[in-house]
């Protein structure tokens, strides 16, 4: 907020009320904006939490001050001439000056120097933010879909959706592409955006060109982001969360992923297919020799490593309904809202058992996968560890039983043009699921038990 205050207009010289009024009016929106400039902004672009975001932010601050300098010069000069040279009598005959070479050179060279002072660090930052990737960087393949995000971890062999887990302090290299229209990956506190382009088909032997986004998260917390390239009807509802956990927390999440269900499933070696994420996912999902179901030991992902209000579940504290999200000190698996909402839902619960039966016997599994079960669909979001997610519908609502039931019944009513069918209408190429209310509730309970 400190930064913002400086945008106020220069104080108008006293003496001319009409002109002061002009500048008061110019300054008014600034003052009003300042009045509202309080509270948490979970998608703030000026509150960096990664190396990438910090480079951008320090550059922005320096450019901001340069532009304020120019603005001050122009506004002060303008105020001066408007006040000083107001016509006092119609007979005035000002000197007819046609130009001045020295002045022209001055106000060409002066701004040119400022522009150079801005351009040099900008270009340095261009290279710094697109520098070669370090050895220990973790690669994640991000695929944009109308209207959700798919995150595939080739190293770990995991595919998840809408909530990206990252370990703190470890560089991550995101490989970005889209399967339909252009989307843009943007989590402002973790840095700038980059587009997810549909990658043109190539001839055999040629390499497909992907976009990459490389950064190191520097603080734990849950960071909010959303699609930043207009991608169709529900573009506004294509949000995401990035959960930056401690190294142990992240490892625990990975471990849980493989323990999540427990049914045996044929294993295959993970293979890096030629850029088709669908193939990737099928292969990877099938590669897991999962075992030991039902374990719901709390995960030691202490998100509140640094304690203060900025740490922990960043931004959630300011939610319209604070009860929706646990703040600080939330530990994964206990206080995650989905988990809380589904408290008591364990795999032994009859409702959960029933839900599992319904789910695996329904058309759900044509699109969705749950690790360790026969559900291996690759069209929609992978639902493994669904009960640990904070949000559903690509970050648009709290993940709880009530919302999930609504979602399963009527996804298109909540999110227009989504590809998922409802209980009584088709979606995309899929017929209506035709689930009864009881079945929907059971499926929801089952999904929330996945943690």
């Amino acid at each position: 907020m400190r930064l913002m205050r400086s945008t106020a207009a220069p104080s108008p010289p006293v003496g001319d009320r009409r002109i002061s009024r002009l500048f008061f009016l110019l300054a008014l929106p600034v003052l009003l904006a300042l009045a509202g400039c309080a509270g948490e902004h979970p998608q703030s672009t000026i509150n960096p939490h990664s190396d990438f975001a910090e480079i951008i932010h320090s550059l922005y601050v320096s450019i901001f001050w340069w532009t304020m300098l120019i603005l001050a010069v122009v506004w002060i000069l303008l105020t001066w001439v408007v006040v000083k040279y107001r016509r006092k009598s119609e007979d005035e005959q000002p000197r007819q000056i046609r130009g001045h070479l020295g002045l022209e050179i001055g106000w060409t060279v002066g701004p040119a120097l400022i522009v150079i002072a801005i351009a040099i660090p900008s270009i340095q930052a261009v290279f710094a933010t697109q520098r070669p990737v370090s050895e220990d960087a973790m690669e994640v393949h991000v695929t944009g879909h109308q209207f959700w995000w798919e995150f595939h971890y080739p190293e770990q062999g995991i595919t998840t959706a809408n909530e990206l887990w990252l370990p703190v302090d470890r560089p991550v290299n995101l490989r970005l592409h889209s399967n339909d229209v252009i989307h843009s990956f943007w989590v402002p506190k973790l840095g700038g955006k980059r587009d997810l382009n549909p990658v043109p088909a190539v001839r055999e032997g040629q390499e497909r060109r992907y976009n990459w986004l490389y950064f190191t998260p520097l603080e734990t917390g849950v960071f909010m982001g959303q699609c930043a390239e207009f991608c169709g009807q529900s573009h506004a509802l294509m949000m995401k969360r990035v959960v930056v956990a401690t190294e142990e927390g992240f490892q625990e999440w990975i471990d849980r992923w493989f323990r999540s269900e427990g049914a045996d499933f044929p294993t295959e070696a993970p293979l890096e297919s030629a850029g088709n994420p669908l193939d990737d996912r099928a292969a990877v999902a099938g590669s897991l020799s999962a075992n030991g179901g039902g374990d719901d030991a709390p995960v030691a992902a202490d998100l509140a490593r640094d304690g203060g209000p900025e740490a922990g579940l960043n931004g959630y504290g300011s939610s319209a309904d604070p009860a929706v999200y646990r703040t600080a000190s939330a530990t994964f698996g206990q206080d995650a809202p989905g988990a809380t909402a589904a408290a008591g839902l364990h795999s032994e619960d009859p409702l959960v058992t029933r839900g599992r039966e319904v789910f695996l016997g329904s058309t759900c599994i044509a699109c969705h996968a749950v690790q360790g079960t026969s559900a291996q669909g690759v069209i929609g979001p992978n639902l493994t560890l669904f009960g640990t997610r904070y949000t559903l519908g690509a970050g648009i609502m709290e993940n709880n039983l009530e919302n999930l039931i609504r979602w399963i019944q009527d996804p298109m009513g909540i999110k227009p043009a989504v590809a998922m069918p409802g209980v009584d209408y088709p979606g995309g190429n899929w017929p209506a699921t035709g689930l009864s209310d009881e079945e929907v509730e059971a499926v929801a309970a089952y999904l929330l038990s996945l943690k």
């Binding site: 008014l28 979970p42 480079i55 450019i63 040279y85 005959q93 001045h100 930052a125 382009n197 169709g232």
Partner: protein
Amino acid sequence: MSTIGLETPVGREATAHHEEDTGFWSWITTVDHKRIAIMYFVAATAFFFIAGLKALVIRAQLMFPEQTLITPELYNQFFTMHGTTMIFLVAMPMAVAFFNYLVPLQIGARDVAFPRLNALAFWIFLFGGIYLNSSFLVGAAPHASWVGYATLTSPEFSPGQNTNFWLIGLSILGIASIMGGVNFITTIINMRAPGMKLMRMPLFTWMTLVTSFLLITAIPVIGVALIYLGFDRLFGTVFFQPAGGGDPVLWQHLFWIFGHPEVYILILPAFGVISDIIPTFSKKPLFGYPIVVYAGILIGFIGWGVWSHHMFTVGLGPIADSFFVAATMIIAIPTGVKIFNWLATMWGGSLKFTTAMLFCVGLLAVFTVGGLSGIMHASAPVNLQQHDSYFVVAHFHYVIVGGAMMGLWAGLYYWFPKVRGRFLDETLGKWHFWTTMIGFNLTFFPMHFAGLFGMPRRIFTYSAELNVDIYNQLSTVGAFIFGISSVIMVWNIVKSWRSGEPAPANPWGAPHLEWATPSPPHHYNFPRIPTVRSREPLWHKQERDEILAVTMPDPEEEPLMPNPSYWPIVLAAAITLSWALVMTGIWWVIALGILPVILATFMWAFEPAFPEGHGH
């Protein structure tokens, strides 16, 4: 040497030339650049209200988070058509209205080089605009944003006619723009009065020339892109379809190679307007005239080399990003030079704050804000945070409304007395100015904050969690105030058109040739063509007397002017129809649609341009 020509002879009432026909059909068939200009202005103002109402609905929808006033689909249609209309049907034709009215008068010509082509361009623009907006009547308005990025426009993701309306509508409008550009270049280069050297032309005419070159070079680029897209959509090609090896990023390059010069097409006319107005109301010649001219030309040239600053998030790599950072930074310099020259023109002057001058000062104050936020996202890394956020929405409204539109409104108050022979009401004008300043700043300034706090653009709603409600509420309130200011403007125009205070030939004591004619001018502009000896011909006593002696008295015999013609409107209708039929995607229907175009062209070609017996 520099006495001001306030005492120039009276207006039209004193002259006794024969009355022109002013009936309905005379407007339909007119080839008079001044009447065409008025029609451009009226049509552009009508479209301004259509697009403005959409903006108000958008603002109402965004006043509170998670509102459901309109459906996402309708919202997407509204913001798409708001942008498309404001740019192609408001800002551009509004500037063309000024080009049309002023260029022949400022250079001492009786009309543009191709009067019938001029009429044709207007009617094509009007029909193209109506065609584009008719998409709402069939519930299929364009919905893929004004930039129409592939692959959102491919048949798979935009089935139906929505995107066809958009690409065909823009193609039709492009034809009108190219015709206009050709016409003004030819007029300015060939039809200047004796002694009107290039470096004596009023700045407005200069900027018209630069803009016209941008029009004839930039519009064909989007024309190519639209034709590719049309083929993709209607005939199954894969220019932008990744599955077939096409590259969606190609669309972005083509669009922005057009799109960035387009920004200067919008802003340079306004720069021209205020470069003419500020000297008049400062009683001083434009400071650094040649520098201001060269800066305008330079902006036009460099404007061609900065398009990828719209594409920093596309992933072009650090080398390309650096080049476009540097080029974009460079273009800030001539823009800054212009601002300093305007300030220097006012410095030491005798400033009179008419409404026209207030709009010029307002432009300098707010356009600078837009220019400086532009410098922020000219820096590629910073752009990665601001691109496609409300920060950018704030930026370009500061540039296009705070620059282009404010300049044109200044021009409206300045030249209205010439057009009508009556002043616009100054009291209402000041109300218009102040409500515009309040409404405009209240609408768009808070958007900077909404953007910095992570609100993306083109979203039909936003999460309450973003905590940007207050900025959106301020914007909404501001938008409605801005709406009221536009109503005041129209009320002023209507009222003053009927009963405004009569204006003399040169009410402001302005220096240029258009003020050496009666208000309003004769349909032939000048009975005899004056000779010009300086940049401010009406500010030098002897030169002024010589010019007025030529331009003000009624001629023995009226100069010969071209015939009115029905064929421009008929041909325009035929061209619009032939393009609209492309929507069918059936080759023989499209082929048949070309027949009326050929027919109308033939009839046009064989119609004598001048009255019988005066054949040329």
